[in-house]
């Protein structure tokens, strides 16, 4: 497991919102330790039996180390800085439609201050059945040795369920986020998973746009020591067309599915044709 475990004390910024209250309840059911919620103006109330505070500073006596941010996009940057300035070291942003310039600024500050930024616009981080920050459906997981790192949400669930159905449990499942500028990349995750004793194989779920998959392939090529398999979505996407989230765009011949599949194959990573083929690629040669 990486970043969080059953002892990680989590706060939810925006806990009184529709998403914040629903998903914090699901997180608690999964075993996550949610110690506080933050919503300016709602301090003193409770959501899912979790105490709500007006500011992050007011809840720091509960010694949280991680925050999930689920506030409207225009306020995400502010919520991020509030968490960071109070010393929170793992910050996950659920919100979609965060302005790119805000994402650039958040990333630069996270990097400078040693903060792990997950997302924005991803399903979060799940360590079965230790802890969860995010929105992944609880019932699809099984504990085991496969780590899944993905740029997508629902496609992650699809692959996690296929793994669980095939008897392959998961060590850590992380959604990087669907935006063009996100905190963690495939490369960061591979580095974190390389020495993770709970992880013996890694699934990368990529998609068209950017060069994150190519960068990961370059790293794996130098010797990763664990089995890596992949799936890349968007083989059929016409160039220049945005397919849903901002990450999924091909421009100037870069970031195509072909380029990513080739780079991964060159690094010895098998790429599944269909999402449901991932478990058999993991089992191959066992």
């Amino acid at each position: 497991m990486v970043f969080i475990d059953k002892n990680t004390r989590i706060i939810v910024q925006g806990i009184t919102g529709h998403q914040g209250s629903f998903h914090s309840a699901e997180m608690i059911k999964f075993g996550a330790k949610v110690v506080a919620g933050i919503t300016p103006g709602k301090g003193g109330t409770k959501v899912n039996d979790v105490p709500v505070f007006d500011t992050v500073a007011e809840c720091m006596h509960l010694v949280p180390s991680a925050s999930m941010i689920s506030v409207p996009a225009p306020f995400v940057k502010d919520a991020f800085f509030e968490a960071m300035e109070n010393g929170i070291k793992i910050i996950y942003v659920l919100t979609e439609h965060v302005p790119k310039h805000d994402e650039v600024e958040m990333y630069a500050n996270a990097k400078r201050n040693g903060v792990i930024l997950i997302g924005p616009n991803g399903p979060g981080l799940t360590v079965p059945f230790e802890s969860k920050m995010g929105i992944m459906p609880n019932h699809i997981f099984k504990k085991g040795g496969v780590a899944v790192v993905s740029r997508s949400g629902t496609l992650t669930y699809e692959i996690v369920k296929a793994l669980s159905d095939a008897g392959l449990g998961q060590s850590t499942v992380l959604g990087l986020g669907g935006d063009a500028v996100v905190g963690l990349s495939f490369l960061d995750m591979l580095k974190a998973l390389k020495d993770d004793k709970d992880t013996n194989a890694v699934v990368l779920v990529g998609e068209i746009g950017g060069t994150a998959e190519e960068d990961a392939a370059e790293y794996i090529k130098k010797g990763f020591g664990k089995k890596v398999v992949a799936y890349i979505a968007g083989r059929s996407a016409p160039p220049g067309k945005r397919m849903g989230h901002a990450g999924a765009i091909i421009t100037r011949g870069k970031g195509t599915a072909e380029s990513k599949i080739k780079a991964l194959n060159d690094a010895g990573v098998k790429v599944a044709q269909y999402p449901q083929d991932i478990p058999s690629l993991i089992n191959e040669g066992k």
């Binding site: 996009a73 225009p74 439609h97 965060v98 302005p99 790119k100 310039h101 994402e103 650039v104 600024e105 990333y107 630069a108 400078r112 399903p123 929105i135 992944m136 459906p137 019932h139 699809i140 993905s150 740029r151 997508s152 949400g153 629902t154 496609l155 992650t156 669930y157 699809e158 369920k161 669907g178 063009a180 500028v181 779920v205 998609e207 068209i208 746009g209 950017g210 060069t211 994150a212 960068d215 799936y231 979505a233 968007g234 083989r235 059929s236 996407a237 016409p238 067309k241 945005r242 397919m243 849903g244 989230h245 901002a246 990450g247 999924a248 100037r252 044709q273 269909y274 999402p275 449901q276």
Partner: protein
């Protein structure tokens, strides 16, 4: 969101980036009575690259020839797009064409300046070695040394270097203040009179930042009519050239659905991502958009999470009751509340497959 050249140049003027004198017309009669210094360039305002090569830029040296050129450009379509506006500008005495842009480099997660001596229509095929790249540190922003280094690489003399430094500084201001994804000038012209001039303007503003840029008017000319209708209703929808209508949730899963169909030799008619929703109306109202695209069949592929399977099932049943869906409908439901969702569909004589592979096989069978 891409701005038209004339909108980009309005922003350039506001930020002190030099552009040729010009004005915009929406019909050739607007040329009458205007004070014009001939010759002029007449430029089609469309949101598509390769405009020059496609014949969208012409020149004229008299009112008569300008009117006939304008008439011709207004009546033809350029790369499939209607030309609604023309930009009329004084023709430049070009000595040299350079390239300059600032964009967000999504790998480095920082703004990136790119310049090249080889500006003009073929910038996409210029070798990487002829392009000078320099990131902007978000903690520092524009700094004079960035311009000095770039000007040197462009081989500019002292006077042009000073102009260039102002230009780059102003481009950076525009980039920052307007949440731009891209500010590009190609070509950046050195005139025979020794002036730097932005002959073109390509500005793209981050769609997600528009709440703080209320002065920017969105234009969606690069969308088809149906894509625009879907956009206004809040769907992420792209038209493709196949025959299978697709509804899925999440961009990744929707793309994987299209890929899987294609690997089975089935061509999708569209991309439609419902996103995360637990509202039956959002599911239901996706169908009229799909039906307008005249697909031969519809494949709904849902993995329930935030979007619950029973909500989707209710939406499908409501659509079936309200709209005339006479083409085959194949549904796959899996994830949160899948039993309930499947039960709702079965009651209404719609079968739901538990996995994508079986669903796609059924679509293939029906398409024979």
């Amino acid at each position: 969101m891409n701005l038209f050249e004339f909108q980009g140049k309005e922003l350039f003027r506001k930020f002190g980036i030099p552009v040729p004198d010009g004005f915009v017309i929406s019909s050739e009669s607007e040329l009458d009575g205007k004070q014009i210094r001939w010759p002029v360039a007449i430029k089609s305002q469309v949101l598509v690259g390769g405009r020059g090569k496609a014949g969208g830029i012409k020149f004229a040296d008299s009112l008569e020839s300008a009117k006939s050129v304008a008439k011709e450009l207004f009546s033809a379509r350029l790369k499939g797009l209607k030309v609604r506006n023309l930009l009329i500008e004084g023709k430049l005495n070009i000595d040299k064409e350079l390239y300059i842009s600032i964009a967000i480099d999504t790998s480095a997660k920082q703004p990136l300046i790119m310049v090249s001596q080889k500006g003009g229509m073929d910038i996409e095929s210029v070798n990487d070695s002829d392009i000078y790249m320099q990131h902007i540190d978000p903690f520092v922003g524009f700094s004079q040394y960035l311009a000095t280094a770039a000007a040197k690489r462009l081989g500019l003399g002292a006077d042009l270097s000073r102009q260039f430094s102002d230009l780059l500084s102003n481009m950076c201001k525009l980039f920052e203040q307007y949440d731009a994804e891209l500010v590009e000038i190609n070509p950046l012209v050195i005139t025979k009179e020794g002036k730097l001039m932005a002959a073109d303007a390509k500005v793209s503003i981050d769609q997600d930042s528009l709440f703080r840029h209320t002065d920017i008017k969105g234009s969606y000319d690069d969308l088809t009519d149906l894509e625009n209708e879907a956009r206004l209703k809040g769907y992420s929808f792209v038209e493709l050239d196949g025959t299978i209508g697709v509804v899925a949730n999440g961009a990744g899963l929707t793309m994987a659905t299209l890929d899987t169909l294609l690997l089975h030799g089935l061509k999708p008619r569209n991309f439609l991502d419902l996103g995360g929703t637990d509202n039956t109306d959002i599911v239901k109202n996706a169908f009229p958009i799909l039906l307008k695209a005249n697909p031969k069949s519809i494949f709904v592929n849902i993995f329930g999470g935030v979007t619950k399977c029973d909500t989707v099932a209710q939406g499908i049943v409501a659509a079936k009751n309200e709209f005339d869906i006479s083409i085959p409908l194949v549904v796959r439901l899996s994830g949160v509340h899948e039993e309930e969702g499947r039960r709702i569909l079965e009651q209404n004589k719609i079968h739901a497959f538990p996995n994508m592979a079986d669903g796609v096989k059924k679509v293939a069978e029906l398409s024979k």
